[in-house]
């Protein structure tokens, strides 16, 4: 069995993740002599970070140079800055300080921070003009939080760091793994990944018993994010047959898989729904020409011939693959109506193997489960929901984060079985 170890350092021709302070994540291609532009954070030469292990943080210097630095980016930010301060700053920044309504609320602003007295607020109002008053209050807020008045070098440095937080020219480079790719799309456009959470993805991969060497039947409407996650667990051995509803599959996310194109060609076979459900009608009629006939062709016609030949072989192989059935799991991440879809695809799943369906909404899976309860080919149909709840992880001030992203999706799971032919008087149904 082929095994492709995962990269642990930055290498050319890979895509990796760049994390910026308070800015989310970016995907960057490591091209020789490439320059990465990070907007206000600056630019740097890709060559500078090649060979470093994932997780490494850097500071951007002039002339596209970088300097490796210790510690993770999160810790480099002042670690005393907890949720409540961030909340206050966010709240303050959101208020529209210019509108007449909010002028009345300036008392509220100061009070909201629980930091400023009535007097201080009045002073600020007088000394700042309207547009800056929010920032002036934020400034005062930060000062009080870092005990600026103590005027120690430490507190002064912390003050400056926080104020300039937006301008720290630092980043961390990390592995662009399945979770990171998912997070990237969740931030940019959650609908692309059907709002799937990291925990839903993890549960999907475990329920589907994904492992190297497996042969999986997949519908992936996320543009390849799921296929990528499967390939990551399979690490070079096994095969996927991906069924899609268009003429051509959308695997735009696969370029981020960091597998060689040859590996992907070998492992990821595609077929459309028509070919999948009507294989005999959709086989491409093909007869190889004789060697002589080929040699007689003009080169353009020859190329054309080989292209058509490859296409026919690919389609017919995929059809053979589908007809063979007996897949080790059926994995569906789609907005197609699953009660009927699952029913039609069960026959392709091997015995005792799992069927796993992801849906952004619970309701289609409830209907899938109602259908499945009648279906003797599906054992123990179960509807799962899993939600990760992160905590503010600050020693002495532990609590769940005040807000978190909603959604995350649901999973349906069942085991494909071979029911007895005649009805058996059930003592108890499994």
């Amino acid at each position: 069995m082929t095994f492709i170890k995962r990269q642990t350092t930055v290498q050319y021709h890979q895509f990796c993740l760049i994390r910026l302070p308070s800015e989310g994540i970016k995907i960057v291609e490591i091209r020789p002599q490439g320059i990465v532009k990070l907007g206000k954070f600056g630019t740097f030469a890709v060559d500078q970070i090649v060979g470093f292990p994932y997780g490494q943080s850097f500071e951007i210097l002039d002339d596209n140079n970088v300097r490796p630095i210790q510690g993770s980016l999160v810790e480099l930010e002042d670690d005393e800055q907890d949720d409540s301060l961030k909340e206050k700053i966010q709240y303050l920044r959101q208020l529209d300080v210019e509108s007449s309504e909010t002028n009345r609320d300036l008392v509220d602003i100061g009070n909201a921070t629980q930091e400023l007295t009535q007097e201080e607020i009045e002073t600020l109002k007088k000394t700042s003009n309207g547009a800056n008053i929010g920032e002036a209050i934020i400034d005062k807020l930060i000062k009080s939080h870092v005990n600026f008045s103590q005027k120690t070098k430490h507190s002064q440095e912390k003050y400056l760091r926080r104020k300039q937080q937006k301008f720290l020219r630092r980043f961390t480079v990390d592995l662009l793994g399945p979770s990171q790719l998912l997070q990237y799309f969740l931030e940019k456009d959650p609908t692309k990944v059907l709002d799937m959470s990291e925990e839903s993805m993890g549960l999907l991969l475990s329920l589907a018993n994904v492992q190297p060497g497996g042969r999986y039947l997949v519908i992936d409407e996320t543009g390849g994010v799921i296929v990528n996650a499967l390939l990551d667990r399979m690490r070079g051995s096994g095969e996927l047959l991906v069924v899609h509803e268009n003429e051509h599959p959308n695997h735009s996310a696969l370029k981020y898989s960091n597998f060689e194109p040859s590996v992907i060609d070998r492992m990821v076979k595609t077929i459309n729904l028509l070919q999948f459900f009507e294989p005999e009608d959709e086989r491409v009629q093909w007869n190889d020409l004789s060697q002589q006939e080929i040699e007689e062709m003009k080169s353009s016609k020859k190329a054309h011939y080989y292209r058509r030949r490859d296409n026919a072989i690919q389609i017919n192989d995929a059809i053979d693959n589908a007809v063979k059935g007996d897949f080790d799991a059926l994995i569906i991440v789609s907005t197609l109506y699953t009660p009927t879809l699952v029913k039609k695809m069960i026959a392709k799943v091997g015995g005792s193997r799992p069927i796993v369906v992801y849906s952004q909404y619970k309701e289609p899976l409830v209907e899938t489960q109602v259908e499945s309860m009648q279906n003797l080919e599906l054992l123990a149909p179960t509807l799962h929901e899993t939600r990760c709840r992160p905590y503010q992880t600050i020693i002495g001030r532990l609590h769940p984060l005040m807000t978190m992203k909603g959604g995350g999706g649901y999973l349906f799971h069942a085991i494909r079985v071979f029911p007895l032919q005649e009805g058996v008087q059930a003592v108890g149904r499994g």
């Binding site: 642990t8 979770s179 690490r235 489960q369 532990l398 085991i415 494909r416 079985v417 003592v427």
Partner: protein
């Protein structure tokens, strides 16, 4: 080789999971001399040999049946004999995902416990990776070791040691080479005591992740202190809240039908009153001088002439046993959680350690 790879047909010596019900999955090792006796009937192993995994098998008596399943880590979690509180799939799958554990990963697990997560990790890291698992309680260690052996996992990819990692660290002698773990999972009463010993056994060349699994918040606090002390960063604690949902159907009961039913009840009541009135008009009042026999006879006659037929209008199936989805009625599909839900398993504290600069470019 039950948990890694796939098998199509049941053979002698195979580990098979006999599915009796969602809460009754029984592991058996196929032995052609044995028979599985359950409340669903008797199932001789010999008849299982040659059947495909996934087959629904009938009892030799003809009533009752079971399903024969191939062991997977997830099914094993639901069927294994508990020696401790186990790690369930919503937690284990998330930890695997978040720590980026995959084929080829090298994972430390302490303690082994009931080896629920161990089986899932073995399946995920596969032959190219390795699981170094440690258990301090000798009976559990022996039990787990026996299981790994029977399941074809011992040596590749699992190495198990009887060890109190908090006192004696993680370094081992029954493995050829360095541990060089890339992920660590600690499910111990006092993980902070074990964290101190990790530096010797984790990889220095790459970023290493850890997850500490503790039920009490106070344990999390102590863990955070230790992680900080030993240079672990990007620390975050989370909890996983998982639910299972069941599909049901609720009858759609329209208020208009309820009103019609009341009308029907009222109509029939009035009809009854009317019939009674006519009866009295026809037969007059009961007379004091009537004999008991005559009184009886009159009562029967009254009953017969005044009774109103049982209504046919029963829009909600009252008094009948209606099955979910019965076509005579309208239904709405609904979902309900389990009657009792798992509200808490443990807190999961994640952290990472950067590669050591000197050991890289």
């Amino acid at each position: 080789m039950s948990f890694i790879g796939y098998k199509d047909t049941i053979g002698e010596g195979d580990l098979v999971l006999a599915f009796l019900g969602r809460d009754a999955i029984k592991p058996i090792v196929i032995n052609k001399e044995e028979t599985l006796n359950t409340r669903f009937g008797s199932f001789p192993h010999a008849q299982m040999i040659g059947l495909k995994y996934g087959t629904q098998m009938a009892s030799i008596k003809g009533y009752g049946f079971i399903h024969l399943l191939q062991p997977s880590a997830e099914l094993w979690t639901l069927s294994l004999p508990h020696r401790t509180q186990i790690v369930y799939t919503p937690d284990s799958s998330y930890i695997t995902q978040r720590l980026g554990i995959t084929a080829g990963s090298r994972v430390i697990e302490a303690g082994t416990g009931s080896a629920s997560f161990s089986h899932a990790l073995a399946r995920t890291v596969s032959a190219e990776g390795h699981l170094f698992t440690y258990e301090f309680h000798e009976p559990r260690f022996l039990e787990a070791k026996k299981e790994f052996e029977e399941h074809g996992l011992l040596g590749t990819p699992v190495t198990i040691n009887h060890r109190d990692v908090c006192k004696d660290g993680f370094e081992i002698s029954n493995y050829d080479g360095d541990v060089k773990a890339t992920s660590v999972f600690l499910d111990l009463p006092a993980p902070w005591e074990a964290i101190a010993h990790l530096s010797q056994v984790i990889s220095q060349d790459e970023k290493v992740g850890i997850c500490c699994f503790s039920p009490c918040i106070e344990q999390v606090s102590k863990t955070l202190d230790a992680l900080k002390e030993y240079g672990w960063t990007s620390v975050q604690m989370v909890e996983i809240q998982a639910r299972r949902w069941e599909a049901r159907q609720q009858m759609v009961r329209q208020v208009d039908d309820a009103v019609l039913r009341l009308k029907d009840v009222k109509r029939r009541k009035l009809e009854g009153i009317e019939r009674k009135r006519r009866f009295y008009a026809e037969h007059g009042q009961p007379r004091d001088e009537d004999s008991e026999q005559e009184v009886e006879k009159r009562k029967e006659l009254e009953k017969e002439e005044t009774k109103v037929d049982r209504t046919e209008f029963n829009p909600f199936g009252r008094g009948l046993r209606i099955k979910d989805g019965d076509e005579a009625f309208n239904w709405i599909k609904v979902s309900k959680t389990e009657a009792e839900v798992k509200s808490h398993t443990s807190y999961l504290t994640f952290a990472f350690k950067q590669a050591t600069p000197s050991s890289t470019t």
